[in-house]
Every structure is written in C-alpha cells, then in structure tokens.
Subunit: 378 residues, 4 copies
Amino acid sequence: FRRTRSLNAPSPIQQFGPCGRIMRNSAMIMTIQDPASQRLTWYKPPLSVLVIKKVRDAMVIPPFIELVSWLTLEKRMVVFVEASVLEEPLVTKHAKFPDVKDKLMSFNEKHDDLTDKIDFIICLGGDGTLLYASSLFQQSVPPVMAFHLGSLGFLTPFKFSNFQEQVTNVLEGHAALTLRSRLRCIIVRGGYDKPQPKKPKPDATTAPWLPDPGVKLPSNLLVLNEVVIDRGPSPYLSNLDLYLDGRRITSVQGDGLLVSTPTGSTAYAVAAGASMIHPSVPAIMVTPICPHSLSFRPIIVPAGVELKITVSKDSRNTAWISFDGRMRQELTHDDSLRVTTSIYPVPSICAEDQIADWFASLDDCLRWNDRKRQRHFD
Amino acid sequence: FRRTRSLNAPSPIQQFGPCGRIMRNSAMIMTIQDPASQRLTWYKPPLSVLVIKKVRDAMVIPPFIELVSWLTLEKRMVVFVEASVLEEPLVTKHAKFPDVKDKLMSFNEKHDDLTDKIDFIICLGGDGTLLYASSLFQQSVPPVMAFHLGSLGFLTPFKFSNFQEQVTNVLEGHAALTLRSRLRCIIVRGGYDKPQPKKPKPDATTAPWLPDPGVKLPSNLLVLNEVVIDRGPSPYLSNLDLYLDGRRITSVQGDGLLVSTPTGSTAYAVAAGASMIHPSVPAIMVTPICPHSLSFRPIIVPAGVELKITVSKDSRNTAWISFDGRMRQELTHDDSLRVTTSIYPVPSICAEDQIADWFASLDDCLRWNDRKRQRHFD
Amino acid sequence: FRRTRSLNAPSPIQQFGPCGRIMRNSAMIMTIQDPASQRLTWYKPPLSVLVIKKVRDAMVIPPFIELVSWLTLEKRMVVFVEASVLEEPLVTKHAKFPDVKDKLMSFNEKHDDLTDKIDFIICLGGDGTLLYASSLFQQSVPPVMAFHLGSLGFLTPFKFSNFQEQVTNVLEGHAALTLRSRLRCIIVRGGYDKPQPKKPKPDATTAPWLPDPGVKLPSNLLVLNEVVIDRGPSPYLSNLDLYLDGRRITSVQGDGLLVSTPTGSTAYAVAAGASMIHPSVPAIMVTPICPHSLSFRPIIVPAGVELKITVSKDSRNTAWISFDGRMRQELTHDDSLRVTTSIYPVPSICAEDQIADWFASLDDCLRWNDRKRQRHFD
Amino acid sequence: FRRTRSLNAPSPIQQFGPCGRIMRNSAMIMTIQDPASQRLTWYKPPLSVLVIKKVRDAMVIPPFIELVSWLTLEKRMVVFVEASVLEEPLVTKHAKFPDVKDKLMSFNEKHDDLTDKIDFIICLGGDGTLLYASSLFQQSVPPVMAFHLGSLGFLTPFKFSNFQEQVTNVLEGHAALTLRSRLRCIIVRGGYDKPQPKKPKPDATTAPWLPDPGVKLPSNLLVLNEVVIDRGPSPYLSNLDLYLDGRRITSVQGDGLLVSTPTGSTAYAVAAGASMIHPSVPAIMVTPICPHSLSFRPIIVPAGVELKITVSKDSRNTAWISFDGRMRQELTHDDSLRVTTSIYPVPSICAEDQIADWFASLDDCLRWNDRKRQRHFD
C-alpha cells in the first residue's frame, strides 16, 4: 500500500489485523481528487470578468482603471463592475475613463443576478473584496484572482505590479487553486405569530454599514470567514445552546460565539484565541468570544457535521447574528441558526501554491512567530 | 448536487462558474468511504485477542483476571498477554489465576512479533494502555476496545461493569469505529562518521522509564498522540528549524515543539495552549512549548504534508525526541526528523459514536467549558 | 534589617552597596499601614445601615425581609432601602413587611445624596449588588458586608444562613478588610462646538439597561471592576490610542480595551485572557478584547500611573465607554478618557481573610485549576 | 485628601463612612518613599566598579577592553573583573590589554566575597550578565548599569555607543532607578537520614552549565527572574502542592511551576502564557508550565506573602529546581521550597525612566502588539 500524497491523507487501508475491516457501505463511497494537486483549467475560454474594487479608497482607482482598460482593450473581455462604481467622481473624472466607459457592463447587487454570467473574478484591494465577491455568488463561484495593494492579505495573494503577465498566465490555465470551504447558514424562524425579529435601525450618521431598511434580510447565506453570534447592542450576555448533529454539546456564556471556516480561523477567531487552520483542512472551528468559563477552549470539528445554535430558554436577552460582518439581524428565543459546510467553495487562485501562500500571509498579516533577531553589535 | 454527509465533506463540485474547473488528474483520484459511516465488521470470526492491562496498579488485577477468564473459558478465544504479567505476584497469587494460567499465551515485546497473530485487542486501564498497544503494531492494527477503570479517558470509552455484554456486542460486529490517524516519524541520521547520538543513561533509581541500554533505539516509529522535540536535560534552549514539504516555514525558540495527531491535540498540545481537534479531522497540529515569541500560535496543517525538523546550525545545544512519551533519544545537528501521516491508523472502537465519545471525554477528562451553575438559594 | 510582613513588601533598604542610595525626597515620603493587617474598627457605633438587594429575583425577598426586620427590630438600626424596593409587590405583600414598613428609610438614587448618612452597607445577592453600592458612593464608602444567596461570588463572601451572628460579629468590630481599589474615570469632552456625544437610545423592549433619557450621563465616575472601551453597536472596529503618564504606549485594534482594577481582573478581563490579580496588589490591568495582533498580551502597570485613551485620528468610527457595565456613552474623536486609581477604595469585609476569601472565590466562581481527580475503580 | 503620585498609590484614607476605619496597629506602620520618584544618589563617590561581560561572545571583547581602559585610565576607578576573563585568549591577546592588565583586580566567584568591595556594577552584553551580577550579591546589591550590544534587553537598557558620557552622568548621580524585587528561595531539606538529593551529573560534553561536582549547592538563594520547579530529566510529571501563607492553595499537574518576580514576568512566565507585570508592581507571579488543567490560569499575589512548594505525597517522581536558570537540584518528597520577596532588590539604573524603559523593552524584545501597518500602494 502506498498513500497517495493527498492533503487529506485518507488511509487507503480498510482492513485492520487479520479479521477486522470497515463495513462496506456503497452509499457512502466517494471519489475525490487530491486537493494537493488541484489546478485550474478552463473548460472553454473565459470571456466575462467581474472586477471588484475596494470601496472608499482613492488609491485603488488608478490601478482599477488600468486593469479594466487592459482587460477590455487588450484582452477583449466583457468586464462587469458594480453600478455604483460608475458614479464615483474619482472614477468618472479619471483621464482614461472615457476610453472604457462604454465598454463596461454594470450590475446592481439588489436587482441583478450574476449567476452564469461571470467566468472569472478579479478583486483589487483588501480581503473585504473577496468576502464581497463571495457574497454575490450564493451557489457556484467562478475562479477568483485577488490582488492586494501594498500589503499582502490572507485572501489577496497577488501583487499588482506586473498584473498583465499574471492575469495572462491564469487565463492560460497555469495556476494552483485553493478551494476555500464556505459555511451554509440558515436561520429557522420559529415564532410565526410573533413580531418579526429586529434588524438594527439604520442611522445615516452612525450606521452606514446597515442594510437599507427596505431590503428584506436573507435568512440563508454562505459565509467565507465566519458567522458571529453575539450580544449585539445589549451590554448583557446571552446564553446560547450549541448542538452538533442534533445533540446538545454545551452552552455558551460570554460575549458570543464564532463558527468559522478554516479560512476564517485567521480572521476573527484568531483574535479570540484560536489556533490557525490551513484552508485545505476539511473542518469547522467553534470559538467562544470572551467566555465566562476558564476552560472553554476552541474546538475543531469535521467539516461534515451540522451545528445548531439557539438562545437558551432561560436567557434574558436575544442574540444577534452577522455573516462575514454583514446582514446583522436578531436571533430570538424562537429561532435557531443551522450551520453546515456548503458544497460551493470559493476557488481562490494561488499566487504560488496552497502552502506557500498561506505561510506568506501568516508572516505578513499576523507576524506569526516573528521575534527579535540577534542583531549584531557594531 | 447533494453533498454526501461525509465528515470530511469534500465538495462534489468540480466546476466553478461557466468555464472554470479543476484539471483532471487521474493519478490523484481517490475512492474513499465516508468516515462518518465507518462501522466495524469481521471478515472472519476473531479468534485471538491481546489483552493489555495498566501496569503498576493493583486495582486492575481483579478485572483483568475476570476478563481473561471469561475470554478463554466462555468465549474460547486465544488470549495473549505480556510475559511480564505472568510474573506479577498479584496476578499469580490471585485465586482464579490457576484456572486460566495454562490457557494464556504470552509474548515479549523485545523478541516476539505479533503481526498477523492478533485479531482483536482489549485494553484495561488508562490511555497509556492504548498508546502501548499502538506501539506494538507498527503496521496494521487490529480493532481496539478500551475499558477505563473508574474514570473515562480520551482513549478508553468503555465502562467495565457489564463487559461481557459489551465485548459480545463488538465481537458480533456492532460498533462504530474512529480511525485515529498516527504519525510516521523517521529520524534521518546524518553524521555517519560522528559518534552515535546519545540516549539517556539509565539509572535504576531515577530513570525506570528509560529503555534497556542494550536495546537499539528505533529511528522509525508511529505515534498516536505526538512526537515531542525538546531541550532534554539541558536548561538551555535549542533552536529548531521547521520545514513543510521541503520549505523552511519558521524557526522555534522555546522549550520545544510538538507535532500531534488530532488524537494528541487533547494530550500534551492542549496543555501547551492548542485548540482541540476531533480525531476524524485529517490534520496535523504543530504546537510550540513555551515559545519565546508572543505570536507563535499553534497551527493546523493538512494531514498529507511532510514536516521536517532539524536543530538550527547556530544552535548551541542539540535536541531530544520522544515518541508518545517513550524511546527518548538525541537529535544532533546532523540529523533530521521527518513526520508524515501514516497509512496505518488505530481503529478505535466507539462506546457510542465518534461524536458522542469525543464530547464525553472533553467533559470528563478536561472539564471543557465547565463552569459555575446558578445554584439556588435555600 | 527585617522586612515588615506587609502584603506590599516594600523594601526598608535605601542603601545599595557602600555608596549608592535613593535620593531623599521628603515630598514623596508616605506613611502607610501594612494592608495585610487591616482590620475594621468602628470610631463610633454604626447606627444607619443601607441594605441593597438583588433586583428581579424573587428568591431574595424572604431573606431581605428577614434581614431588615432583624436590623430594625433587634438591632435598633436605621435601615435605608431603595425607594423602588418599597413598591415591589413581592415585598409589600410579604407577611412580615407591615412590621417594618414604617421603620424603613428610603432613598432615590437620582435625587438623594447618601454621603455621610450611611455607616454600614449590607448587600444581599450577587456581585452586582456591590457594584451598585460602589456606584452610590463616589467618595468615601462605608464598610460593606456582602451576602451571597446560594453560591459564592467574587464580591459576596458571606453565607446567609446564620446572618445574625455574623452581622453582630462585624458590628462588634471583628473583621478583616480588603480595600478594593477603584479607578477614577474622567471623560474630557473636547468638541465644545460639536453636537454632544450620543448615548444609546432607550427602547422599552430591548434596552431596559439604559439610563433614563432625561438623565445627564456623568463624565466622572469611579469603577470597582473595569471601564470598557468598545466598538459599541458598530460592527467596525475603532482604533484607540493608549497613553501612560502622557506618553503614547500603543494603539489598539480589535473589539476594544479593558482597564481593570485587580478586583476586575477576575471579571471581564479574565474572559479576555488576562491573568488574575489579588485585590490587594496595587496595580491597574490593561487588557485588549479580541485584538488583531497575536502579540497583544495584557499588561499590569503600577496603580499610581495615569492612563489616557483616545479614538485614533484616522479611525473611521467612534468608541463607546461603559463603567462597571453601566452609563454607556460615546467617546468621540475629540474626547479623551483618563483613568487613575482613586483614593476612595471599597472597604469590603472579609468572611475569613484577604487570602482565603480570594482563593475560595477562584475555586467556586471560576473553578480555577479544577480538574479530573483520579476516581477509584469499584 | 490628595493622593501622592506614588506608583503604588496607597490610599491615604483610613476612614470609611462616618464610623468605620482601619484599626490602628503601630507595629504595622511603614514609612516609604514613592517608588516613582526614586533616583540614584551617591553617599560618597564610587571608587570600585565591577565589570561583568557576556561569556562566549567574541564581539563583546573590544567594547569590554575599551570600557575597562576608560574606567581605569580616565576615571581612575578600581576595576574588578572575573578571574576567568583574564585567561581568555581573545582578551589577553587584545592590543590594548597590556595597558590595563596590571590595573585590573580579579575575583573568583567560588573563593572571593565581594560584599562591601563593590560600589558600582557595569554589565556588558545580554540579560544574563545582570542575572549573574545579581547572583554574586546575595544581600545588598550596588547600583547596576547595563549596556546591551546591538539589541535592547529587558535588563540592559543602555546603548554602548557613547558610554563615556552616560557612565559619567550616572557617576554624577543623574539617574532614575528601578528597584527590581528579588525572591528569596529556601529549600528546607526534610530527610536528614536519607541520601542527599541529587544534582545532575556533570558531563563535559553535554552539560557545561552544571555546577562543579565539588561545589556544594546552596539551598538559599535570591533570584531576579524566577525559580522553576519542573520534572527535570524525567518524562513523567510530578504533582506539586502549592501553599500560600501556610494554607494549601492548589496542586499542580503538568510540566512544572514558575514563581516569578515582576521582572521575571517577561522572561519564562510570558512564554508560559502569563500577563506582563511592570517591575515596580509589588507582586509575585505564579504560572504553571503546560498544566493538565484547562482552567489553570496564572495568578498574581501580593509581594508580601510566603509561598511553599512540595512534591505531593502520592507523586511517583521528585521534582527539580533551578534558580534564574542555575544551580539545578532535586526536590525530594521530604523537602520543601519556600519563597518570599527579599528585602534586597537589584537597583537597576534606567536609561530614561521606569516607564519608558519598560515599554521600550516590550517593543524591542517581545514585539508587543506589533502588527501589520497599512502599507501604502505605490
């Protein structure tokens, strides 16, 4: 027997000693390809590209214009951008904008469905651009290539300087892929007779991040980093109950609870004290936020389980949920949140490969194990 | 598409958007069965059983005698025990021992090879019995059923009280299995001309745990919990270099480094501050012991990688390695330790199932998230 | 030289080697009494007693009535209670209430000043009662005796069962004292022309904890546990700047910052990962809440420093402050929060002594170092 | 009342409410000077200076020669160096050594007593030089000025570049002092009839750090960083019992226990997970090393307590003690270790002041709260 060099390293062995073996269950046999060898290929040439840029950052405008010009004029691709981008003065007044203006397709998150329209995604800016791109595709996600501007992000491995060469390379199919798992989160609303749960009241001054009050909050969302359940604006703590595959596992008393993907382990979870998980490990991380108990260490469970979170019956307060930092809404005593691994990961294109990219971002974003070097005396 | 309810939750999706997909690589296709559905079955009826009991614990003798009597006299199985057990006065003087004495087969770890002789293993005592059983089978391990005596262990889920019923049940093939991955550790000795690395000098008074000086230390071992690289008896710290798939990842300054299986995450690693990983997650955990750097958080990497650890060239001291707490030996500047996931896991029989057993042991062994309950006033 | 057995253990030595010594500075000489020997005495017999009971807890009513009856009828003390208590139906309908009703003095937090009216305080319920008592006395605090009801609290060491004997004992002056330091917090409002900073909008349904909108929030408060600076209702993180004695020490990026007394080290700070400080150590603890940086470990600085916290100039959001969980208000870019140790500690009466009480509460409230005992096999 | 701006911030208030006050106890009154205002002065001009240099570091030789030359030839001071230094070839062959050779006084740690001979100490190299200097003075310690060579240490705040100016400044009495508390450690040997406890067997190759076998190990020592009680060369863990002021507080199961000064909180303790304490806080820190219990958080107790540590009766192994990393020796079941704050602190001269020096070393040595800055795009 020889183990395939799979990142998941499943054992090919089904027999244990002379007599024991795993019971065959044909319904449970899976044929999978080793994640370590995952490379991008194109079934047919990609023609349409969605370009997402960081918001509220003037510095990103020149490279953005440069990129979309090159994609439209040189590469002859159909470029989609957000409708709001075409109204930003810094964009519209840019010297080169008139050249591309008519060639750009725009979309509006609220009205347009991008499913099956986009072959390829390019992000420009910070990790937030990729979280946003992920939120636009609640099912299959086209391959994503993410450029940072100045400093490496966890989700943005590419440098912009020679972008033409790098994009061409990817379009020709030369790239390793990290399949970043997402969590499917469903809020099951239980209290049909009761008043609808609240969403925070938007306030033009203080709360620009809140959804438009007219928009119905979705109760079914995929997250790339984490779903947060916290005490919201209340200073009092909620008690939460945590279930795994239908079984009550523990109750949570503290500031809240994070359910993170491995990708999200280096986001909020690491700030709350968790260990860091490579995005190719098939797992879900559960991390308390400032728990009352000294012994509430984070746990990592197999990616295939189903988690359920409810507000404890004896809890005085409700809880609040947010999805990758968005769509904040209340979880009442009658509701429950269910979380499983989605079948739709984000195919994130590597700058080098799965391993090198991750350790580079640990170094750069978190200064992992960075310490004083013996400097020499002069 | 519907995700199979696999614990690993691999995505069945190979296509991303209208054009992108994973390049097929037939050499990398694996067919695996969902770990969640793993149940033990017997290819042919198990006839031989190895019984391992906790050492130096008088309390374990009566249940041990009771168990082997029942296995030999009632179940008509061939029972193997360690030769040294047959010399323990508390065993030999036990009233019921004469009944079974002639029926027991004995083996000596140093001379006898158990491969293919044992169909089934029963452990009686603490987690150490399972670590020892694991060490006896450096390739395929027969299914292991582990009883604790009094308090649940991470590796010993069964209560002894109604052992007859429970063993019978397992022998009839009714049991869930946790496949506990092991790490294959190889010390590559580099300095052939140099004096051989040291092993600690045994000293009857202080060092009963050391191997017999006449025994050659193995340089290739499977561990179930962890391999520890530490400063050994030296008060000075070694610098270690850590490589992953051939690439230097970081250097370690501190008391040492742990490379743990998920099973081992709740052993030494948790004491060193790591998060806790369910044994079915295919991963390897790397945890520093008292690192000098504030930012050296533990990391969790895919089970399929290869790690290499060396003593840094500029390190004043060497390092010491131990495997599941045994076989302590020196790692010199010329040597390297290589660690990968073995293809030979330990098939550990569940008392209930993979999930319930793990959370029960978190509660019982680590008092995970145990906290003050509101006690009522009277 | 012999060190006095002071808990602070100041060195009586002023000379270092044959020539060196500390420069005398008569302005800086202090005469203090060893905290270890602190015992309560009464300058004159205490006549008035303030009784604070836990709110919204029916179980506390019978012992409350029993206590105030005994204090008024047996001990002939003048008993003050909160005016609102005299309106609680469970109190007024209690069979024994008519006996004491006319003898009770009531006060209203908003209108009445208790300074110099109260000789002695008794708290009945959880730690919150002592936090509330502390908030009522912004200068000198009378000695506080705190009873828990059912389970020990950090601030409530006395059992209620034989309260008569215990109160009599304290009134006779037999008791050890822990002087719990408090932090004096001052919000310096900088933007006089700007609109006043917000306080959260009260909402009868969701926000019963908020101050009455008509009440002006104080900007100068003593806290017994901690002052919290956090992101308030915003999901975005503020950047805070931290100064110590006028010098900028670091900036804080994360969910927030805690400035805690040693008493508060076992409250919110311990949930955020801090070490636990005995209340007699003269120190201030600074703890980040979920910091972005892996290396932002909590620090403990001398009690005599002055801390200042501001919202960083480049921070997109403001921050929110709360004082022992109350009086939540905004900290704008123009404001600063200053924190020093107050000269008015809370004299908290010990059930046994400073050391025994603290370790008892670590055990009981936090299950400190509680772990699996070897249970014996039967 | 106005609080003196003392770092310890003792409350000048002795009265609590109209009647309560602290019982006067004249035996417990102390007159102390505010640590914040501590400055060095010289009772008479310092004439003799002990110069300690880092061992086994060739880079330190030229500045060492330069320093001792300047002290002897320019400052006309009597310079003491370790006898072994005068035998180091790199020193004796240095071009300038002949000029000072006859002027240097040498001492041998084993035979010579430096008490009352040294007015001033200069350290050159890393933190180890100050730990060594501390160990030479088991009672009063002359003021210490410590230079680092290249990178700041926790105990070595001075840059060497303009040493003449800086030393002159200190000799003229212009310097702030940090009084670093030390712990007095006494091993009380209980088993007089039993064989003497072991010290590790020295071995020329592997154990250069061990004491000369002829030297009797002291059982009474002052430490500046910490006393470590660990499992020594044994892979098995000892159980330790911890007492505080005669009361059993908890038992320790794990790799060991640290009792640290605030100075030592940033040494081994921080690696074991402790918070960091400013050296002027009068406290003792107790930190477990890799404890088995999830809830064994470090604690900080008042400087004036007495700790006692013993090996638990039911522990299979003994424990080993080391003092600031030296003088390693066994603690048997019959022995106990007692630890209190010594009256002899190390008067450590500040480069700037107590606060600035500490935060500079946190930044430089531990990269405290160092994180990714937003780098700008170019």
